[in-house]
Amino acid sequence: MRSTGSPAATAVATDLQDERLRSREGLGGALTAIADRARGGDLGMIPVVVGLVVIWTVLQILNPVFLSSANLVNLAMESAAVGVIALGIVCVLLVGEIDLSVGSVSGLSAAVVAVLFVGHGLPAWIAVLAAVVMGAVIGWIYSQIFNRFGVPSFVITLAGLLAFQGLMLYVLGSKGSINLPFDSGLVNFAQLSFVPPWLSYVFGVVAAGWLFLTGFLHARERRAAGLSAKSLTLLVIRSAAVLAALTVVAWYLNQTRGVGWMFVLFVALVLVMHYLLSRTKWGKSVYAVGGNTEAARRAGINVKAVYTSVFVLCSTFAAVGGVLAAARLAAANQSSGGGDVNLNAIAAAVIGGTSLFGGRGSAFGALLGIIVIQSISSGLTLLNLDSSIRFMVTGGVLLLAVVVDSLSRRSRTSRGRA
């Protein structure tokens, strides 16, 4: 509370009056608090950041092209489709459920777009809208089966995995592969449209400015209410750090093609989900249902509606991801959404710190998680290792992430933070 000159700063803030509370102010205090939480087993995003640094270092040593601007541009573009799917997985994992069919649903959505757009010659936006609505309907069907019959979600979605893969093959028909025309807006969006350099810097400035403004207003509101608040110095440092990071990233990517609009779309969806999960009543309900379903029900939360909303969201994101993947590939074929899409999306969510046990995780986890997964994939491809090795490495990383999740959960239990 230094250097702010707030009138309320003279008295002790309402939330700091307990003498047992060690005061933690300024930058040092914030860092100490993070370290404290980590020791208590609340690791948050620390493992994924550490993992990312390790993976990038190793891959860069193995192949100096890995951290080149061109490769990172590509990596960002490749991340978007599965990243969007992972965002949906985060939502279902938060309520302690799972959706194993996101790969099939994304493949089906790709097929639907291709058939409607190319086969029937409908406008692209109608084809995309149809695919997304279909995703929402699939999620709604899952939620109804889950709510009415109480079938475990992994069984429902395992059935969906097979059924919707079948439906995709049926929709694609005998041809088995439909190419999207290269001059269409969809393909153009996913492969060729990049943010102009000046605009990418503007995005950075707007993000940092927005962070500072909301932080400042929030701090002022808290002080006015007699609560403790972040100091102005801390807010400035935080925003400056974000501005510097975003500028460096944008500058480095702008050395070659720049920041793809598809990646911007993904980040925008992450930000929207972050807001919904952390700052709305719905978000709190999702965490509550994942933490203690019975408590949520007694608190008057419509638990079934929460389940419905997350299943619908997850399948919808899967459908959106499928559209992006098809646009990126400029085709929908029998292997769309197959292979490792399913596992990569779930792995991204878990690696990003979303607990398989429910109630813990964040939207940003999907962003960082998918970058880890995509880095492994991209790095191994650069080393000319084929998909057999890639599958094994990704499987190992997923296992590692789950082990970290389980260990941190045990640590939370022993330190009374479970």
Binding site: T14, D15, D18, R20, L21, G40, H218, E221, R222, A225, G226, L227, R279, T280, K281, W282, K284, S285, Y287, A288, G290, G291, N292, E294, A295, A296, R298, A299, G300, I301, G359, R360, R412, R415, G416, R417, A418
Partner: protein
């Protein structure tokens, strides 16, 4: 307080509830006034929990009337109970351990659903906790890191949010240590001072003697006596609970003459 109780806020008359062939409650009467602590005691299977669930709107009664503030009301759902002003703190507290104290207090009743008013919620949380003289160092830690007594405090504070007239506490001290039990009993007294009617379900005679104004005894789903705490002994309550003055508790007490007359340690 209980000498001339103000008109009852909540009156139950002839409440019955059966589960299949089992009559869990038969013809139960109960009155609670503002600023009065009514202890409901009874053996296992006496119908205490069923009575709580009837009042909380979990199980609607099969017969009988519930009168709340001189109106005959129905309590079909927990939400209806909440709207009337009947708040229930269940034995398992129903807190979300992954959420912090503020989130738990406002769970399901958040301010500004689409842009949570965290500042107002935190301010109100501190008001509530101060009102209960709660000993919770910070409201921004997960409930998982609080002690049993602190959790009980959070659960009670949450029930106060809707400005209830009646608070039902289901075995509030069952899982607590000596000091924490004392804290919760202080809390109950504070609720009474604030003019709330308190129904306290308990097994613990020491708690009954410590804070209750009247004791209603249930036995096998029926009323088995209503006592003023000041003129009843623990032995009489135990006799009403077990249904005989020659009961297993009395026989134990007779065997162990060194045991204090106030009954069993908790």
């Amino acid at each position: 307080m209980s000498a001339q109780p103000p008109p009852g806020v909540l009156s139950l008359r002839g409440i019955s509830k059966t589960f299949g062939a089992v009559a869990a409650l038969t013809d139960i009467d109960l009155d609670v006034a503002a600023g009065q602590v009514v202890a409901v005691v009874g053996d296992n299977g006496a119908g205490k929990s069923t009575l709580v669930k009837v009042l909380a709107g979990v199980h609607p009664p099969d017969a009988g009337t519930i009168t709340f503030e001189s109106r005959v009301v129905e309590v079909p759902t927990p939400a209806a109970a909440h709207r009337l002003g009947i708040a229930t703190v269940f034995q398992d507290l129903a807190l979300c351990e992954n959420l912090d104290v503020v989130d738990n207090l406002f769970l399901g009743h958040e301010l500004r659903p689409f842009r949570l008013d965290t500042v107002a919620m935190e301010t109100r949380s501190w008001e509530l906790l101060r009102q209960l003289s709660a000993k919770i160092p910070t409201v921004r830690i997960p409930v998982a890191s609080l002690s049993g007594g602190q959790r009980q405090t959070v659960a009670i504070a949450r029930s106060l949010l809707g400005d209830p007239k009646i608070i039902i506490l289901d075995e509030p001290t069952a899982a607590l240590g000596v000091a924490q039990t004392a804290e919760v009993l202080n809390l109950v007294e504070r609720l009474r001072e604030n003019g709330l009617g308190v129904i306290m379900i308990t097994h613990n005679m020491a708690d009954v003697k410590a804070v209750a104004d009247t004791v209603a005894v249930l036995r096998l789903g029926r009323n088995n006596g209503l006592f003023d705490v000041r003129d009843v002994s623990t032995e009489e309550i135990v006799a009403a609970i077990t249904g005989a003055s020659d009961n297993v508790v009395a026989r134990r007490a007779a065997r162990r003459t060194t045991t204090s007359e106030e009954g069993l340690p908790s």
